[in-house]
């Protein structure tokens, strides 16, 4: 092999960079951690099904915001026919009262930083 003095360090750097997640997770030892959701359910059923809410809640909230702010419409007609007031603080947070133990669990895990609370007053949490 020619120029081993340069090529071998180069290959070592390449391998270190591309295996970053492996040794990073080993070093931190938090690989088995996953979000734990706590909920004080005042209602039995969310405005939509759990499967829908899990992946679509951000789109739903966005739609609610547009309806309320732009169309002055505060009533949401759910797929199951029930009606709900479109309000994050008054409807959602009735059950999902503990932001740190519900919302933040997945958001922190996935590195999502919603900018809702840039403007909205953050609700006080019941301990």
């Amino acid at each position: 092999m020619y120029d081993a003095g340069k090529i071998i360090p180069g290959l070592v750097i390449f391998l270190c960079l591309f295996t970053f997640p492996f040794w990073y997770n080993v070093a931190n030892g938090k690989a088995s951690q996953r979000p734990e959701l706590v909920i004080d359910a005042a209602e039995k059923q969310c405005v939509e099904s759990k499967e829908f809410m899990r992946i679509m809640h951000m789109d739903l909230l966005n739609q609610w915001r547009d309806e309320v702010v732009r169309n002055d419409n505060r009533v949401y007609l759910s797929t199951d026919g029930s009606k709900h007031t479109m309000s994050l603080s008054n409807t959602c947070m009735k059950c999902h009262a503990n932001r740190t133990q519900f919302c933040d669990q997945c958001h922190d895990y996935m590195g999502v930083t919603p900018y809702c609370w840039d403007c909205h007053i953050q609700p006080r949490e019941s301990k």
């Binding site: 020619y2 090529i7 391998l15 295996t19 997770n25 966005n62 997945c106 590195g111």
Partner: protein, 343 residues
């Protein structure tokens, strides 16, 4: 009659093309389902195998390259070599020291400097051959590569727990304009535009189409597929369950693979295409990622006149000097009346 004939021909072509497109789409759909049904294989086995091929393959190829002797210094020079003290030298374009080479390589790797010099030749009426500057390829290539890098680094959020701060910073910069929910990433638009250009460049120009091979289209189309499936997963209701994705990804990275339920078919398709891409990588033109560092015309200092370089494949040549020759044929030479040098 002729018009009808050509219409018939073009219709036939269109029919074949749309047939191919439909077959490809059906195949993709079937592959998506298959990979979803065999999650253990497509979520664990194939990713590990692809990663091993990727890392091992690249190391193998580079070692193979390093085994072939590097030729005599052959840097391409694009500027004034170091000469008399009052002649200005161009340190980057005719590097004479290791640091000059480093600067030249860094600009090459990070900003594709030599592609920036790309020219085009056109035959104008006359006929007249006209050369001009051609920057679109440089722009498209640079946009594509940087966007790709940023997207891959952003993806580390799926593979690491806790997420490193540079990943967080990168994704907040990428989503700086806070358009829509989930926030639109600028790199997604950039890579899509760049890939479209890079693809059309090969298809629309007859000269480019003529020299383009399946090995040129395959990675391009594969990456387009990866990007489209990724964007569908993020911006449309066929979303993936990201918490599940992260559990799977972190599981792979910590050698405790888990297959959470309900991630979605599209994710498995995305993952499969990524696996195909990285498994194919070491055996394809994509190896230019490593090859750029080993380009002899770029990575050598142009100091031929200052330092003596011995060609590495020179071996001790067995020479037969005139004296030895004369000694060997002394008798015959003498017999023919030849005057020997020795005498």
């Amino acid at each position: 009659m002729n018009a009808l004939r050509s219409l018939f021909e073009s219709n036939k072509k269109a029919a074949i093309t749309s047939g191919v497109v439909i077959v490809v789409l059906l195949l993709l759909w079937a592959v998506g389902w298959l990979s979803f049904l065999c999650r253990g294989i497509f979520g664990v086995l194939i990713p590990y195998a692809a990663l091993a091929l990727f890392l091992g393959g690249i190391v193998y190829r580079v070692v193979q390259w390093a085994k072939s002797p590097e030729p005599f210094r052959i840097p391409t020079t694009c500027g004034q070599q170091k000469s008399l003290p009052w002649i200005k030298t161009n340190r980057l374009d005719c590097p004479e020291t290791g640091w000059g080479v480093f600067g030249r390589m860094a600009l090459e790797v990070l900003f594709f400097r030599s592609l920036f010099r790309n020219t085009k030749a056109e035959l104008k009426s006359g006929p007249r051959l006209v050369y001009g500057s051609e920057k679109y390829l440089w722009l498209g290539a640079l946009a594509f590569h940087w966007a790709f890098l940023i997207i891959v680094v952003r993806h580390l959020r799926f593979f690491t727990e806790p997420i490193p701060s540079f990943v967080q910073l990168l994704q907040s910069l990428d989503g700086f304009f806070q358009i829509g929910v989930p926030i639109l990433y600028m790199t997604d638009l950039i890579i899509l535009a760049a890939l479209t250009y890079l693809f059309l460049r090969r298809v629309l120009d007859p000269k480019m189409r003529y020299i383009s091979l399946p090995t040129d289209y395959f990675p391009l189309v594969l990456i387009i597929g990866i990007v489209l499936s990724g964007m569908l997963m993020r911006y449309t209701p066929v979303k993936a369950d990201l918490v599940g994705v992260k559990e799977l990804a972190v599981g792979l990275m910590s050698f405790h693979p888990r297959i959470p339920e309900g991630i979605g078919i599209l994710f498995y398709l995305h993952l499969l295409m990524v696996c195909v891409l990285i498994a194919y990588f070491p055996f394809s033109k994509l190896m230019h990622m490593a090859g750029i560092f080993l380009s002899p015309t770029r990575n050598m200092a142009n100091n031929n006149r200052k330092i003596r370089h011995v060609n590495p494949w020179n071996y001790p040549v067995k020479v037969h000097t005139y004296e030895e020759w004369e000694e060997e044929f002394k008798d015959k030479l003498k017999a023919s009346g030849y005057t020997l040098e020795k005498e």
